[in-house]
Symmetry: C2
Subunit: 501 residues, 2 copies
Amino acid sequence: MEKKLQELKTRLLEVNDLNSATAVLQWDQSTYMPPGGAAARGRQMATLGRLAHEKFTDPAIGKLLDELRPYEESLPYDSDDASLIRVTRRAYEKATKVPPTLLAEVYAHSAAAYQTWAKARPENDFAAVQPYLEKGIEYSRRIADCFPGYDHIADPLIDFSDEGMKAETLRRIFTELRRELVPLVQAITAAEPADDSCLHQYFPEDKQLAFGLEIIKDYGYDFNRGRQDKTHHPFMTKFSLGDVRITTRVKENDLSEALFSTLHEAGHALYEQGIRMELDGTPLAGGTSSGVHESQSRLWENLVGRSRPFWQHYYPKLQAVFPNQLGNVSLDTFYRAINKVQRSLIRTDADEVTYNLHVMIRFDLELALLEGKLAVKDLPDAWHARYEEDLGVRAPDDRDGVLQDVHWYGGLVGGAFQGYTLGNIMSALFFEKALEAHPEISDEIGRGEFGTLLRWLQENIYQHGSKFTADELIERVTGGPLTIEPYIRYLRHKFGELYPL
Amino acid sequence: MEKKLQELKTRLLEVNDLNSATAVLQWDQSTYMPPGGAAARGRQMATLGRLAHEKFTDPAIGKLLDELRPYEESLPYDSDDASLIRVTRRAYEKATKVPPTLLAEVYAHSAAAYQTWAKARPENDFAAVQPYLEKGIEYSRRIADCFPGYDHIADPLIDFSDEGMKAETLRRIFTELRRELVPLVQAITAAEPADDSCLHQYFPEDKQLAFGLEIIKDYGYDFNRGRQDKTHHPFMTKFSLGDVRITTRVKENDLSEALFSTLHEAGHALYEQGIRMELDGTPLAGGTSSGVHESQSRLWENLVGRSRPFWQHYYPKLQAVFPNQLGNVSLDTFYRAINKVQRSLIRTDADEVTYNLHVMIRFDLELALLEGKLAVKDLPDAWHARYEEDLGVRAPDDRDGVLQDVHWYGGLVGGAFQGYTLGNIMSALFFEKALEAHPEISDEIGRGEFGTLLRWLQENIYQHGSKFTADELIERVTGGPLTIEPYIRYLRHKFGELYPL
């Protein structure tokens, strides 16, 4: 058995190395690659991806997984070896159930759909993408049908990024959340809007970057095992547990852009850097789901990085860096500015309160499309209707309406959005637990100290990598299932202090 | 036949993509990778290298090459397809004649030898590396013996980097060259030494880098298909013909360091960027030998970049960038400073005239070691003796003696040094031909214009990639074999003007 496990690990390490190489090529493509490198780079990444897929779906891996089942069952559920076998088996089943020919068709479709969308969005041309979207939904259904036995056709698609989550559970949770959020937004936006003009002055790039780096160093991001570079769309990426990088972008006329993207990506990176080194190079060495991953980026960005104690410590430092711009701006004004709530059209620019409404609109429309209850041709109108209902705004066109996000046009329809809101919900759930265990965390944040919080997160969440699903992890940490209560408490408390609710 | 050729190309493209990915990983390792990434990165590159080797040595490729022989013979020798098949066959034979087990042993040995050397050099401990060097020579002989029928045991090793070159030819050429150089160095060093103190002032990094970039832009280096980053040991690397990068290093107290390394690496890059785009992704899309490659780096670094007309144009610009440092330094003083000739101990710091003596010492010692005429234990003394004879200097220890270069301690012994001097010889050979065809090139250089020279080099050398061996290329360009005459003429003319010869 020891020998078979070793063989499995050797094969998985080869797949890991190919995938890590692809990640390096992607990082380079997004940061430093000159324009002339684009064509060959796309092909190189496709080659590595194909080889990794071939090696991972090799029937020899399936055979090893079968042979190792008795060994797995003889071990504790949460042991490294049992978890490795279990998690690999789930991934292997997902990777092998979709026929390679269908997968190739989907890749080709995704590339064509993305190209079309990239041109159609600035031209506000929904008609151009409509046939691609119809085709995309058809492919999504065919992929889902490779996993018979689902309750809802979106379940297998959701399962790709949030393992074990079901459409019906999410629909129930999101309905509850929406019931809370819509009146909250109404109450907030009825009040005097916050003045965020202090954020829109000239802030030189180098100083913005240096300030952000200073904070994430305090967070505990290990620069010996990471670095930050500039890119167009910020992301976190990992080449090994010893090399977890983040990227950011800077707007010299908007202080919040680089700062909060840095804190957000650092949250993702703290999760990856906190995984036990013994798991490096295995399928366990990564965050467990898009929801849990997002919970950590949002925790460090919002629950910590947009909190009052945090800025009680950092605002004088920020003022010292930008004395001309912020010297006469009070902490209170600044705090309100970075927590301004407003009805808006664009998801990625949305504040903490309205953000989830944007996400849930997309999630519900996705389900309706997959269920066949909504036709693609009716999607733009359905989009506008739902924005008016939930957010009280209507986009002047499809560019800032149904064409605004790449997700539906660069891959499958379904499963790509729920993680954002799951992340917000879980961020408060985990943070509340951490505070329960260590009430001193709030005071520490007010002193720019994050060690107690980081250690609690490492101990309870990070170290495990993807050993446990999100549900298992939540059960272990909170003793119960996923609930929105802590998140609602958090929002009511924070925004109740800022606005008359 | 068309179908078989296509299959060959598809297989070679896959190998190319794996090798290009390895190159990206190496570039990142040398430029931006945080220290924590080192261990996994080494393994990732080894995995990609192994897969590329497996795919390239697949017997299916050998079979295709056999089947394509009649097709190849039906085509003109210099056609793309015939050249692709011919060059691939030579590479395939080299890759398959060495048994994988021997190759694995050599890799393991190289890694261990390098580790030992990296520690032994600062400690001046030749005894520590002696057994590794002995083992390295044994491996080199075993590798050479995989290619029976050689005239000299070093021939197969030389052939890896300078295809078709033979030890005896090189020995003859180098002996001629040495006969010219030793008295030249004696005459120069008998004269008043040049004062290069103007180069050793404080020159801020950003200004140094910007100035170097300005020049290579004038050279014709295409930043749309390349970029420059900082590293410890400067190099050129290529991920595709659309992405040819260079690196440099800066010393703020030595103006020549970054400047000439930038011009040198840009020369390598101009070669690669000048290859016909149709060859991209194939084994033909690369410089043809280490000698020809080095001829281009040295041509742009020395024959152009250390020439008087060049600095007549650029020196006023350099003075404008560094007015405090160079405002009172005359062009003549600066020109003498960057062309200072001196007897020295370290190859990589050597000037144009003495550099080849350093190389030839190593080449001769290598041959003696491989022939068994020199024992490793006697190498340090042989080194010192030869330095005293050729350069009139003796290192105080082995650190700056036989331990100074990594080459013998990080791979095979033999074949790694001759390319440097071949490059110098060829740089003058090609440059003289370009001037014969276009005598206006000198005046153009004096105006900071390089278009005529670059186009001549592209037309005659660069576009072909590795279609022709160095010998074939020299024959095509000059109508004769390799000769040192132009190089000697170049040195006598240039340094005769600077020193009383």
